[in-house]
């Protein structure tokens, strides 16, 4: 039945490409989450009137974040070719896509983290200070805990963007569903392969959105 409708689809290849896409997405989401929170925290804490107020650091980190957030992803990949080669040793395969994915997404997420942290009532931070809390306690138990729903909904949006980025990376040889759709589908005029790859990507996006919303709502006690 399916063979009739989708004559060119090799399910084994689809499965393999899906695994590759999931691999690239999950590694880069985890790395983006950690790196983005670090950068976002640094931006928040060094901003004016905050715990580590420091104009120099804030300006430098802010500029870095803004520049990398503004470069279109497809250009970023090209720009990062020398860096990737030095780091991974190759330009082909899923691992080669990771540096660009992370460097592209982390600044994007860092801004979201900064905004989420700024939403926290200053009074709560002050109350923690008045109780004699150390800065590390304030970071863990006030800043990150209080902004967790926003951090989770932010990483959901970022993860969905990352799925799109992996598809783009696939076109220039990183593997995954994007690669399959382009090389196996588009270039050989097999529309059915493009269609299936698209549907799988959509499914991945829906699942991420669903899981993200579920946790955001569960965490949000406001």
């Amino acid at each position: 039945m399916l063979e009739q409708w989708l004559p060119n689809v090799n399910w084994e290849n689809i499965w393999e490409a899906t695994i590759e896409t999931l691999y690239m997405t999950s590694i880069s989401v985890v790395a983006t989450f950690i790196l983005g929170i670090l950068l976002g925290l640094l931006l928040f804490l060094t901003a004016k009137g905050n715990l580590w107020e420091n104009k120099m650091v804030y300006t430098v980190v802010g500029a870095f974040v803004n520049i990398f957030r503004s470069i279109p992803f497809i250009i970023l990949i090209v720009l990062l070719i020398p860096f990737t080669k030095a780091l991974v040793g190759t330009m082909i395969g899923e691992n080669a896509a990771l540096p660009a994915l992370i460097i592209g997404a982390a600044p994007f997420y860092a801004r979201m983290v900064e905004i989420a942290l700024r939403e926290i009532d200053k009074g709560v931070i002050e109350a923690a200070k008045a109780m004699g809390a150390k800065t590390s306690t304030i970071i863990w138990k006030v800043l990150l805990s209080e902004s967790m729903p926003a951090l989770v909904s932010g990483i959901t949006v970022t993860a969905i963007a990352l799925v799109g980025y992996t598809a783009m990376a696939g076109v220039i040889g990183a593997g995954g569903l994007g690669n399959l759709a382009y090389l196996d589908g588009f270039q050989r005029s097999r529309e059915d392969v493009v269609l299936v790859a698209t549907v799988v990507i959509l499914l991945i996006v829906f699942v991420i959105q669903f899981v993200g919303d579920f946790f955001t709502n569960k965490l949000d006690k406001r």
Binding site: D121, E126, A127, A130, M131, S145, M148, K221
Partner: protein, 341 residues
Amino acid sequence: MISISSVKKIFSTKNGKVTAVDDINLVINRGEIFGVIGYSGAGKSTLIRMLNGLETPTSGSVVVADREVSKIKGSELRQARREIGMIFQHFNLLWSRTVRENIAFPLEIAGVPKSERERKVNELIKLVGLEGRGDSYPSQLSGGQKQRVGIARALANDPKVLLCDEATSALDPQTTDAILDLLVDINKRLGLTIVLITHEMHVIRKICHRVAVMEAGHIVEMGPVLDVFKSPEQPITKRFVQQVTEPEESKETIEHLLEQYPDGQLVKLTFVGESAEQPVIANLIRQFNIGVNLVQGKVSQTQNGPYGTLFVHLTGASEEVNKAVEYLKEQKVSSEVITNA
């Protein structure tokens, strides 16, 4: 318990320097409920925030519980802060934590072991009257309940001093009274020193032993609450005292009455402390052949005794009325003839 000497706080802003607190000297005793009242921008918050080092004075020194809060830094300051509880106008609870977890937060900061934390939290929940609400989140509580959590949290590490920055300003009058009663109860039970800032004289009247009136960074008047009520010296103090003694409408009523009864005399009696309990009016009617018309009055309780004012209109033969006025002047009430007919 607290001593503030020659404290000044100057903020540098884009529009120049703002002197928020200007040369304040103050000693607050152990177990005292001390009130600071003033209008918005008087520097009250800045003053109270210097007591736990949230603000550092530009000059002068602040000593709380034998520690010079204005000098110490780092871990020493954090240690000192654990002995100073603070409650806030907007409660400042962590909304991601339950009531129980909010109260446990300062205990976690102080490194209290889990079982001990649980015991202490249960005790505090009972103390502030939140039994059964331990697992609620702040968003599920009313303002009064949130402030109870704030109080429990502030008391978790057995502080020596409790700072209240407009702790009741966001609450309705009934809830305000309930929270104030709780503060008095805690003060009596735990012997806690309380410093409270407000812009409502009602709050001062109800629970403070002593009061300082702040205006433009200065303390313009200070003393036991009853004394300040009895003889306010500064115009600003008089205005605050009127907030609680003279109901809004009394001025109009008096004018109206003066028009209505052109004869007789209108006298304002001020009762302070034990004199409020004397049967002055009863004696007046018994001893003199005059009519006594009660125009307006209000007697309220303070921590050091009752306080109130009463406007009476005396009618009758002018000779008899004059004698009655003389009699009133001899009593322990202070009387003031408003106008002669």
